[in-house]
Symmetry: D2
Subunit: 295 residues, 4 copies
């Protein structure tokens, strides 16, 4: 899957991936696996989970398309019959599809650099046609990578207008995933509702601690012994969306708030990268305000 | 599953657990899940893995016995037919069975205390009829818990004889799992071969670093920045058996070797506890020199 | 410092420990170290920190008493002169003093077991004359260790009365440190103010997340990917006191709330143990609502 | 210290840093701190450590140059008198000096990207005049950043010659620190001995496990449950030099060796970054085959 240069290797076998959630009932797994096996689909990975309280079934199933007798463009229709019977909410993906991703960024550049490095190294099955910022200063950094840079300044009075320009750009470019790489603007509920489970934000705290502004300063004042970072899908509630990934790093009384910020940057980019990776690998199912991450 | 006192609650529904490994082939999961669903077995948890290099299939399946139409004492026979067809290596367990466990200990008591605390708190579905030691001094500690203590001293010349006494005790008490809670004797291959995948040892290093004696002293000399602990099944090769669980903790130049030992103790008991828990929950399949731990 | 059985070894050299905080100014360290060196006190460990924002100096200094020419019982008076000159807040301790500690516990026993194990193993320079609980059921566990057990039930109406009994017991026994080992009662500000920086509580969340009751349930609802535990000195503000130690452990969508609780227990006892150890080793200085922990 | 863009802020106060090691004796700290205080040097940070076994004293002292009465260019000489008296090995640095750093790289680019991102963001007090590689393919990546790229291919027969070209470049450019960012060539002892404690390598294992080639493959074969990365100064012994920083990340049976490599990359770049940061901040003293890292 990786070439000698450590780059993602696209000639690997193509597989199909189903993400499923539905009311749990007996015989579900049997029905799904029977559907695949009767059409010669060799299961590469099957991960399922039942939420006992809600009685909901979740699964991620990946199978080899090599000998699968249903042609790729008919899978959706054929599986749809089964899906309807079990009242499934479902998505179908193929491992050879590259996700079209945009990046939103403000002043802090570390998460953007991280994403550009993964992009340039070919680590991720992703295309990045554009970066959007409310500031101008990262334009040259982005353009060096052959990526369009859109400078869309914003003030309180122009938020809706700016957001509609962003939405237009995302639509026009067929963007499926937006990484908010320390984009320090609060998006309106209207904007957020247009891109459900497609906006991944990195918040620089261990949520639900320190939602909102200046989390490192508040963590410093509270005297915590670890600081954290959390990647989550954006919802209307500020820093309240479904958590995809989070992690912490140790701090001590020796660390100033500037050192919190410095250490935190390393953590933020690593947590955001992992969350994006899970999303790109189609390992995430959102249900209510939670995620299943089939690591 | 836990009562108000935080103790393991045994009146929960009984489930059956299958641990399976066999050559991978198309239709395997479909066949297994069909077997369960046609007998009204509601799958509670299904975790499977395919080793692509070796082409081996592994699975852990847990299902509700409540409405399962095959009587409990006939499951083994009925599933055996399917198992044979797919050339499975398999185990069947029931969630209401308590595992009979023995503890082997030398001088250091911290892992023993940890196990006794879990036992007394009722955290684990386990019975501990006996503790065996090559030293006498922990006898009163163990007897306070109403557990037999067998003091079996050992010297180079008496190893085989001592081990055969141990084996006899284990057999007589129907012991299914032995926790080597810092038992500082090297067991002979003969002894080890009698209890395959049933001896869980805690080694006080991050294996494969520092196999053998005095790992903390050697870690200190090497100037590592983390020390580790590893729980593994014992095989004929010293500290070379399949790893079940391992973890590390940070150290610095400020830490003396005594401090390595002190910090390490906390780590050892936590890693050993997790490994025993995985074993008791039937979450571990051993294949070759590796484990699948279906966390 | 540890004998062959891994127990704390008391015949090691005796040292003196100073914990100091005062307004920062030039020449402070020089004055302190000159005082020690002119009386032949060999510094074993010196750890200092300056809070640049508040302009406050903190230090922990440990020196060998072996050749120190000031007799042990005159150090306090002699150093007092220097301390006054620099307007220091300070404490003097000796490494051969055992701290008298009490444990408060409710129903959950895991933290109590952990403390009793350290006590019985001789790991800690501590004496535990008594355990106090609002429930009766752990009495036999505690008495097995030769420790007094005081069952002091409490209701809303009897809180003040019960607390005054606790305070009386603590005073009578000369208790210097109280471990709240999952003592599930909220102490009144009056009680708390009698024992400043002497009550160490373990809260089962990564503070400041999930203060108050049922943190695991709320963490589960929020869909976090790590759960935490925090040890802190108790103040009048619920779960708001100075944090001594905190840590997290990974969870996933597979973990039920019962599994959060089970995993959390292992974390709680390890975090509480570390905090108690730091306190006993005189490594903690409290300033405002923060701690310096000179690890 | 950081501007609004999160970049390292160079107009902060200048401080001087002393790194000291010498035989331990009474009065050492008093003498050093007296020297500073009598010349109005306000100590910003003092971190000391005594190796009790070897009886060696180590310290890192940072003080404000603002009111320090000894002119900057005379400190070396004046402190030298004291240093000689105590037979110190010592280094003097100033916080406003930028370190000149080179990067050696082979095929894998992730650590190089990480370093270039820190460089471009202005996070580190560093100048990077050149990158050297035994391959040509990263030339355009490096040149985009305005950094010279030297392609120096190497074969068994040309190693000495290639290394002498590298050494010449490093000397000519006044390089003080070389980051081996997954440079997959083994350097000769002759080369290594020219740059003691100035070559920082990242090895993709938790040393001392898996020294030498293909550590991820061997970790995979061994069935470890965590993989690691270690940054160390290069010595004549392969992967045997003084460890500066190391860390681990969890893996499971689900992770293929490709996934080990992918996860490991994130770890490698973070561990290497931390080690470089410690070095640049003059927080590292090497003694024998160990480091003191005054975090």
């Amino acid at each position: 899957m990786w070439d000698l240069y450590g780059r993602f290797f696209l000639t690997r076998k193509t597989s199909a991936i189903l993400l499923i959630s539905c009311p749990d009932r007996s015989g579900l797994v049997a029905a799904i696996t029977h559907f695949l096996s009767e059409h010669d689909g060799n299961i590469l990975d099957l991960d399922q989970h039942v939420d006992m309280e809600e009685n909901v079934f979740f699964a991620r199933i990946e199978w080899d398309l090599d000998r699968f007798v249903i042609p790729r463009d008919q899978i959706r229709e054929r599986f749809g019959v089964l899906a309807q019977r079990f009242r499934m909410t479902w998505e179908l993906h193929f491992s050879d599809q590259r996700t079209r991703m945009a990046v939103l960024v403000s002043r802090a550049a570390h998460c953007l650099y991280e994403i550009l490095a993964h992009h340039e190294a070919g680590d991720w099955p992703v295309e990045i046609p554009l970066v959007i910022s409310n500031h101008a200063h990262l334009e040259s950094v982005v353009k060096k990578h052959g990526i369009d840079y859109h400078h869309l300044p914003v003030t309180k009075g122009t938020r809706k207008e700016q957001e509609s320009k962003i939405a237009e750009l995302l639509d026009r470019e067929g963007i499926e995933l937006v990484a908010l790489a320390r984009y320090m603007q609060i998006l309106t509920p209207e904007f957020v509702s247009r891109f459900p489970n497609r906006l991944v934000n990195i918040h620089h705290s261990f949520l639900p601690s320190f939602t909102g502004p200046r989390p490192y300063h508040r963590a410093y004042s509270r005297g915590v012994k670890n600081i954290g970072a959390t990647a989550h899908y954006v919802t209307a509630e500020l820093d309240g969306g479904p958590i995809i990934e989070q992690d912490v790093i140790r701090v001590s009384h020796r660390d100033s708030v500037e050192e919190f910020i410095r250490k935190g940057k390393g953590l933020e980019k690593s947590v955001l990268s992992r969350a994006i990776w899970f999303h790109l690998q189609r390992k995430v199912i959102v249900y209510g305000n939670k995620t299943m991450v089939f690591e």
